[in-house]
Point group: C2
C-alpha cells in the first residue's frame, strides 16, 4: 500500500469505493491467499458490487498483484545503517537484530502468501526478495565493510557474513511463523535471546 501523501500527477483524488476495494482485497488476500478469496467476498467486504471492482481492475490476478506489489515494494530496513558508528558493532547489530525480527513478525502473513503464490506470480516473489531480504543484506554488507576497515572484525566475505547474520536471526522462529506454529509461552523473551545469541556467535566467530 502507498501512503496518502504520495502525489500522483496523472490522477486526482481516488474515490472512497476504490480505496475500500483496495483495503478489502488487501486484508482478504493477506489472510487467505489468492485462490481461496472470491471476488464476491471482496465486493461484500468493500461494500460495493462486483461490477464496480471490475471497473477499476482488469481481473482478479491484477487486483492481487497490485496489492502484493505495493506491499513488497515498501522499504524494509527502518534504521539506516550508513550512518551507524563502526566502533560499536555489538550495539548496532543488536539494534538491527531486534528491528529485523520485529519486521519478520509484522510481515509474516505477507511472506507466507508470497511463497504460496510464487509459482503463479513469480514477479511478486522477485520483487519481494529484492526489496526485502536482498536489500537488507546489501545494507548490512556495507556496514560490515566499514567495521572491518577499523580492524575490529576480520570477515573474509562480508556479503556472506551478512547473509549468515540474518540467517542466525531467523533461527527456526521464522519457519515456525510460516507454518503457523505457536512458539511457546514466552515469545518475546525467546526472540530477545535469539538476537543476543546471534550477535554473540557472529562477533566471536568473526573476531580478528
Amino acid at each position: 500500500m502507498e501512503t496518502e501523501t504520495k502525489e500522483r500527477p496523472t490522477e486526482v483524488a481516488r474515490s472512497p469505493k476504490f480505496e475500500a476495494i483496495e483495503r478489502a482485497a488487501y486484508e482478504l488476500f493477506l489472510s487467505r491467499g489468492f485462490g481461496s478469496v472470491s471476488m464476491d467476498e471482496i465486493a461484500k467486504r468493500a461494500g460495493v458490487s462486483k461490477a464496480t471492482i471490475y471497473s477499476h481492475f482488469a481481473d482478479k490476478a491484477e487486483l492481487f498483484a497490485g496489492m502484493m506489489r505495493a506491499d513488497c515494494a515498501m522499504s524494509w530496513v527502518k534504521s539506516e545503517l550508513s550512518d551507524r558508528p563502526a566502533d560499536d558493532a555489538r550495539g548496532v547489530l543488536l539494534e538491527l537484530g531486534r528491528s529485523y525480527i520485529g519486521l519478520l513478525a509484522e510481515k509474516g502473513a505477507m511472506q507466507r502468501i508470497v511463497i504460496a503464490e510464487a509459482m503463479r506470480f513469480p514477479e511478486i516473489a522477485q520483487i519481494f526478495f529484492e526489496n526485502g531480504p536482498n536489500a537488507s543484506r546489501l545494507a548490512l554488507t556495507g556496514y560490515l565493510d566499514r567495521v572491518c576497515a577499523t580492524g575490529k572484525l576480520a570477515i573474509p566475505d562480508t556479503n556472506r557474513a551478512a547473509n549468515q547474520f540474518f540467517a542466525l536471526l531467523r533461527d527456526d522462529i521464522y519457519l515456525r511463523g510460516l507454518l503457523g506454529l505457536d512458539s511457546g509461552d514466552d515469545l518475546q523473551a525467546a526472540l530477545d535471546k535469539t538476537v543476543t545469541a546471534a550477535v554473540d556467535l557472529f562477533l566471536k566467530g568473526y573476531a580478528p
Copy 2:
C-alpha cells in the same frame, strides 16, 4: 492388533488403481498445491474415474492430507549422529551440512506446499515441523552435548546452537528456493561454500 484396516492393508497387496491414485495425487499436489489441482485431473492422470477415487478416499482434503502426512513422516536425517566421533566435530558437521542442504533441495517442493496450506491443514504443518526441522535439531543437540563433554567446544545452550547451525546452513538459499528464484549459475559450488562457511563460523564462535 487390527486385522481389518481399510486404509493400509499391509499384508494384502493394494490394488493397482489405488496406488495409481496415490501416485497421481502425490505428484500433482506436490507440484501445484491443494487448491489448483482438481479431482478430475487426478482421476485422468491415474487412469481411473472420479468415482473410483471417492470409493477409496472420503474427500479431497483427506486425499491431500494422507499424501502429505506420509511424506512428512519420512525420516529426514539419513546419517545418524549418535555413533559419530566426538573428536572430529568439523568432519561430522561438514558431512551433516552437506546432507542437510541436499535434503532441503530434495524436499523443496513439499515444504513450499506445506507452508502454503499451513492455514488449511495445520496438522500437516505440525507433523512436518516435528519430523523435519525439530528432529534434526534434537539429533544435533545430542551430538553437540557429546562434543562439549570432550572440551573441544564450549556451548552454553546446545539446543540453541543446533538451531543456529541449521539456520546458517539454510542461509538465504532456502528462502530463494521457496520463492522459486534461480540461485545463479553455479549452485553446487555456492552450496559447498555455504556449508564450509557455516562450519567455520560455528566452530570458531563456540571454541573454548
